[in-house]
């Protein structure tokens, strides 16, 4: 298996795949990213990320039925694998641990939105 590091955008995609389960595919993931984070994302960027995540073994996919609104083409539905879940958890824990280590002083006087 290749490196198991998760990039920031990859983590976002992975999370969204989980959120949208079982209806996660390229376009719906992009729409969700735009509506949840207000980030402008090209369809190509999402697909590229999805294929990397699959290579790393964090995602698995299967083809669904063909639909009319896609001009009779099938869509590829993604779901998180056990490895993917572990990677998410690891990231989550790491972040929480690091956050908790920040001394109180460092945060004093900072606006919440400035964090």
């Amino acid at each position: 298996m290749k490196g198991t590091q998760l990039g920031e955008f990859e983590e976002l995609v992975l999370l969204i795949v989980g959120v949208l389960y079982p209806e996660a595919y390229g376009l719906s993931i992009r729409e969700e990213i735009i509506s949840q984070t207000n980030r402008k994302v090209a369809i190509g960027a999402v697909h590229s990320s999805l294929s990397r995540l699959q290579e790393k073994g964090f995602l698995k996919s299967e083809l669904a039925e063909a639909t009319h609104e896609r001009g009779g083409r099938r869509k590829r539905l993604f779901s998180i694998t056990a490895d993917g879940k572990r990677a998410l958890e690891k990231n989550h824990e790491l972040r929480n641990a690091l956050f908790n280590q920040i001394p109180e002083m460092a945060l004093k006087g900072l606006q919440l939105s400035g964090i």
Binding site: G26, L27, A42, G44, H47, S48, R70, R73
Partner: protein, 875 residues
């Protein structure tokens, strides 16, 4: 449907196993975009997202070490080196292509825009305007016609009658509209009266208000979006009151509709229902069958045949018209008719009396289209010719490649790659140019194209097709030709002259010259015709004549005339209903002797001075004169020669004439005949005209100003005008400017065709230079030998020139008749034509031959002067 071209590109590079899901996503996204955005935006987005898949994960594995990548990167290296080495050649090639693609792109966009007029109505193919085809065809027909047609004829699904708000003398009236509480007031000139069925026929979108009731209530007004913005900004307009002229708060805003699209043959700012008029004056004769004074539009039920309907009209309409039996008989006989004009044809094909806006003419579009095609042809030939000529110099390269095992197919793809590279660079540059020159072009042709429209799939595909076609044509011939040689033979050294292809090149050169000569002689003929129109004696004076709008409600015309005359800068002054160059109302006239011969005559109400101020020439009888009581009473008539002819009057002066003004019949005497003058533009023939005194109908003051004192006189006039009419604005213009504005379209066409023919000469000469310089390079040795044997400089120049001059001769022989026929056809569009002057062709021929001789001599002279010792050393 998303653009196919983008799909094609995707298929080309995308991995097979990813293709389905990617295409599916793109397709789905496209449908979403398409639902809320115009097509070109959705297409653009599709392309951008497609291009975003050009990432490593999605691209087919061509393999880092595959031949494909390596070969193309080497082709690229060869191509750039070649281009760089021959800077002169490369820039000629690129400039030519860029010019041609830019011109073609512009003309394509312009034609597309002009041809799309009024097609934005959903069922535009079923919408017709009813025009009246009499002696002097006109757009206007009676008001009751529209609804009567809906009631009686099953084919007519809906109909609307409308009319611009005309002032006296049927000139477009600017009405002062005021929002009292904000004290905002503008002069609005695009007001219309319309039937409540306006939206049953036209598809202008409603933004505010209720479309069902908006046009049914009296004193309601519908505003265009831009007019609503002028008065109310972003605030809601419905329910607000506006003052119409001096009638305080007369109108209530009942709705706001979108502005008419640019490509509409009429544009409104506000609409008032006829209901309002009828509530004011129910028996207005203007609303009756007698007055041909309204614009009537029909929407036919799908699939009905307009021609059949048209032929039914005379039989149907006769019961409505209160006409004499003679009139009805000539209607049934087809001497007059109600014609149905398809709404989509109005902008380009209708140019009759009282068009709502000045339309374009198809004949000019044709000139643009043909010029664009010629320029494209010339520059494609240039590119092909130069590439093939240059390929001879690359013989050794081909030889080496073949010995090292290059396939024929690979050579072909190398050449194709190189020319594709050039043509795509050119396409890219011309797209930039189209963006940069958008405004300049719009001004030039009075168009309203939008540069971003080139991304519409239709336009971009057209541009891509010509780009690729050019490149492929330029690549195929040299590749096939050079391929046909045996590499051994090539490497041994072949005489470059033996490498043929010159027949093909020379015939292409001839085609190019033909196109350039047709364009140059054509634009000279257009130039002659237009300067003929502009300089033709119109039969009246225009210099230093100032036209001032007269608000003659209080009959103060005599007062203002006498006051103005006290200024020393004013030499003479008169008042008049219509100025030459404008629109004229018309009614029928007939003589006492022959009442059945009625003639439609335009009318011009004049005072006694108008004839001398405007310099009309009296050929028989006398001018109008206040010494005669009948003249001042309006029962003395002046008619023009044309009217006398159509009334069959040998000795018109003294004859009794009837002038039928709507329901009143005026009986009077002809006191004089005016020499025919062009009171309308030269696009139409001179029609019968009647002139008489009628003070309440004067709309303009015409003042003859001393040219030296114009600057001081205008403020004096304004002051006097304000004294007499304190509540009106002083607006003036000069008659000569008004008249020349009638020929704006001609002036623009002239400028454009001059530019286009200039470009075509430039391109043709650039092509010639390229071909000749290569040909001379191949003949360096020959020239050297001839010089050692004693040939003089002039003999050598004649030698190199002969062939090309013969080609030019052949081109002239073909081009001149073609140009003659094309232009004779084009001139048929004009009422007054300047016959084609043979000198145009002689001048073109001499200029072409001289230019070719000069160009070739300049290129050849260096080689011809060189010491033969040097040229013979070349190997």
């Amino acid at each position: 449907m998303p653009p196919k071209s983008a799909d094609w590109v995707l298929h080309l590079f995308c991995k097979e196993d990813l293709l389905e899901e990617i295409e599916g996503d793109l397709f789905e996204h496209y449908q979403i975009e398409r639902a809320e955005k115009p097509k070109w935006r959705a297409n653009l987005a599709y392309w951008l997202h497609m291009a975003n898949f050009l990432r490593p994960f999605a691209i087919k594995k061509f393999g880092q070490h595959s031949n494909f990548i390596i070969m193309y990167s080497s082709y690229f290296k060869f191509a750039t080196r070649n281009m760089w080495r021959q800077k002169m050649n490369t820039s000629f090639n690129l400039i030519g292509l860029i010019l041609a693609f830019t011109v073609t792109g512009f003309i394509y966009l312009h034609l597309q825009q002009e041809l799309s007029y009024d097609s934005f109505h959903e069922r535009s193919e079923d919408i017709y305007r009813v025009a009246w085809m009499g002696d002097n065809p006109q757009t206007r027909t009676p008001h009751p016609l529209a609804q009567a047609m809906v009631n009686d004829l099953p084919e007519v699904e809906a109909a609307v009658s409308l009319s611009p708000i005309y002032g006296a003398g049927l000139t477009r009236q600017a009405v002062k509209i005021t929002l009292e509480k904000e004290n905002i007031s503008f002069l609005e000139s695009n007001g219309f009266f319309v039937d409540s069925t306006f939206f049953d026929v036209f598809d202008f979108k409603f933004l505010e208000g209720n479309p069902e009731t908006a046009l049914k209530s009296p004193f309601g007004v519908l505003l265009s979006k831009s007019m609503a913005m002028r008065y109310f900004g972003d605030k809601p307009a419905v329910g607000q009151r506006l003052s119409f002229d001096v009638n305080t708060d007369m109108l209530e805003v009942v709705g706001v509709i979108e502005d008419a699209p640019v490509a509409s043959h009429f544009h409104y700012d506000f609409l008032i229902s006829y209901v309002t008029l009828k509530s004011l004056n129910f028996n207005d004769p203007w609303m009756s069958w007698d007055d041909f004074g309204h614009f009537n539009y029909l929407k036919l039920s799908p699939g009905s045949d307009a021609k059949i309907l048209e032929s039914k009209i005379p039989e149907w309409v006769k019961s409505y018209l209160n006409w004499s039996e003679d009139g009805i008989a000539s209607l049934l006989a087809g001497e007059y008719s109600f014609a149905l004009q398809p709404i989509e044809d109005i902008h380009l094909h209708s140019n009759i009396r009282w068009e709502l806006e000045s339309n374009s003419s198809f004949s000019y579009l044709l000139v643009y289209g043909i010029s664009g095609l010629f320029i494209l042809l010339i520059s494609i030939i240039n590119f092909v010719n130069l590439s093939t000529a240059r390929s001879a110099e690359r013989l050794k390269e081909v030889g080496v490649k073949k010995t090292l095992g290059a396939h024929k197919k690979q050579l072909l793809s190398q050449f194709t790659f190189e020319s594709l590279l050039s043509s795509f660079i050119a396409l890219f540059c011309s797209i930039l140019l189209i963006y940069a020159l958008e405004n300049a072009f719009n001004q030039l042709v009075n168009g309203n194209i939008v540069a971003a429209d080139i991304w519409q799939s239709e336009v971009i595909v057209f541009l891509l097709v010509i780009t690729i076609l050019t490149a492929v044509l330029a690549a195929v011939y040299p590749a096939l030709y050079l391929n046909s040689f045996n590499p051994g033979q090539i490497l041994k050294g072949m005489d470059q002259k033996k490498i043929g292809g010159s027949t093909v090149r020379n015939s292409l050169l001839t085609v190019q010259l033909i196109a350039a000569i047709v364009m140059v002689s054509g634009s000279l003929i257009i130039n002659n015709q237009i300067s003929f129109l502009k300089s033709k004696d119109l039969g009246f004076k225009q210099d230093n004549l100032m036209v001032v709008d007269l608000n003659n409600y209080d009959n103060k015309s005599e007062l203002i005339k006498s006051k103005l005359l006290t200024h020393s800068g004013i030499e003479a002054i008169s008042t008049i209903s219509n100025v030459p160059g404008g629109s004229f109302n018309q009614h029928s006239i007939y003589t006492e002797e022959d009442p059945s011969n009625t003639v439609d005559a335009s009318e011009m109400f004049v005072d006694n001075e108008a004839i001398s101020v405007l310099g009309f020439e009296i050929v028989e009888g006398r001018m109008l004169d206040k010494a005669f009581a009948a003249d001042s009473a309006g029962t003395s008539f002046l008619i023009n020669e044309r009217a006398a002819l159509e009334l069959n009057l040998e000795e018109p002066v003294g004859k009794t004439l009837f002038w039928q003004e709507n329901e009143t019949l005026v009986k009077g005497r002809i006191v004089g005949v005016v020499k025919d003058f062009h009171y309308k533009s030269l696009h139409v023939p001179i029609r019968p005209l009647i002139m008489l005194v009628r003070p309440r109908s004067y709309n303009y003051i015409v003042a003859k100003i001393d040219g030296q004192q114009i600057r001081t006189t205008i403020p004096q006039m304004e002051e006097t005008y304000k004294e007499v009419f304190p509540s009106f604005d002083f607006t003036y213009r000069f008659l000569d400017e008004e008249i020349s504005a009638l020929y704006n379209e001609e002036s623009r066409t002239l400028l454009l065709t001059s530019i286009l023919s200039g470009i075509s000469i430039f391109l043709a000469i650039a092509g010639l230079i390229g071909i000749v310089s290569i040909a001379i390079k191949q003949r360096v040795k020959e020239i050297g030998i001839r010089k050692t044997l004693g040939a003089s400089l002039s003999q050598i120049l004649i030698l190199v020139n002969t062939k090309y001059l013969i080609l030019a001769g052949i081109s002239l022989v073909v081009a001149i008749p073609v140009s003659y026929l094309l232009m004779a056809k084009w001139l048929d569009n004009f009422t007054y034509q300047n016959a084609i002057n043979p000198f145009v062709f002689i001048a073109t021929a001499i200029a072409a031959l001289a230019l070719i001789f000069f160009t070739i001599s300049v290129i050849a002279i260096k080689t011809a002067k060189r010491n033969p010792a040097y040229s013979l050393r070349v190997e």
